[in-house]
């Protein structure tokens, strides 16, 4: 989802190998940094705050957050997951969730924080290099 936004074409198999994906376990979130191989600028951080996400969304970066779905009101399962944060407004975040066709999905800020905090508020951004250097 994030790479396609920047016109990067990569097969799922190629991405799985690059990220160190293991079936049923996934890939370490920090391995998202390896996506810089495709000429995009990538950042990965822990212990983020909402202002970080809001700033990066406003800059046009693709913002990925690692969350526990049990805290998100539109999920019925309780599993680890990654979503794209596409908007931040007062009290509400808008998520593009690869598991749902509807997009963006509005989520109350408090629910999002609970879901995000469960995994240490980890987040990543993918941006064009010139955007990241602003």
């Amino acid at each position: 989802m994030a790479l396609a936004f920047f016109g990067v074409r990569a097969s799922p198999e190629e991405l799985a190998q690059l990220l160190g994906y293991v079936p049923r376990a996934g890939a370490p979130a920090r391995n998202v940094l390896r996506l810089s191989k495709y000429g995009v600028s990538v950042r990965y951080q822990q212990d983020g705050v909402l202002e970080d996400l809001e700033r990066e969304v406003q800059r046009g970066s693709v913002v990925i957050a690692f969350v526990r779905t049990g805290e998100l009101p539109y999920w019925e399962e309780d599993v680890p997951h990654a979503v794209v944060v596409s908007g931040v407004e007062a009290g509400v975040l808008y998520l593009n969730d690869p598991s749902f066709q509807e997009a963006p999905i509005p989520v109350p800020e408090d629910d999002f924080i609970l879901a995000w905090d469960e995994f240490g508020c980890q987040w990543a951004t993918v941006a064009r290099p010139q955007e990241d250097s602003l």
């Binding site: 799922p12 198999e13 799985a16 994906y21 293991v22 079936p23 049923r24 376990a25 996934g26 890939a27 370490p28 979130a29 920090r30 822990q46 690692f66 526990r68 399962e77 309780d78 599993v79 680890p80 990654a82 905090d117 469960e118 995994f119 240490g120 980890q122």
Partner: protein, 101 residues
Amino acid sequence: MVLEFVESLAAGTAIGAREARRRVSAWLVGHVGHLLMGGEPRYIAGERPVWRVPVQVTLGVWGEVGFVDVDARSGELLVNDRTPEEILARVKALAGNTAPR
């Protein structure tokens, strides 16, 4: 769970069960695999009391593939460089080493 909580209070632990699970989940997602998370911690009393947090597989199959201990006094995760490999080996054993789709 309530008994473990009371026991941990009596032992003067620095972190509670939820924080222990949170630290393990954050470490799993960041260093092992983003589809793994910590389950319900158990308090293990002893000379060095720990929260024992099971590692849960949640995609496709549900199961536990080991545990991570958290020092209940310092909050330190008791892992080493080999821990991620050991967890991933158990995930593969549980789910079968199928090719990524």
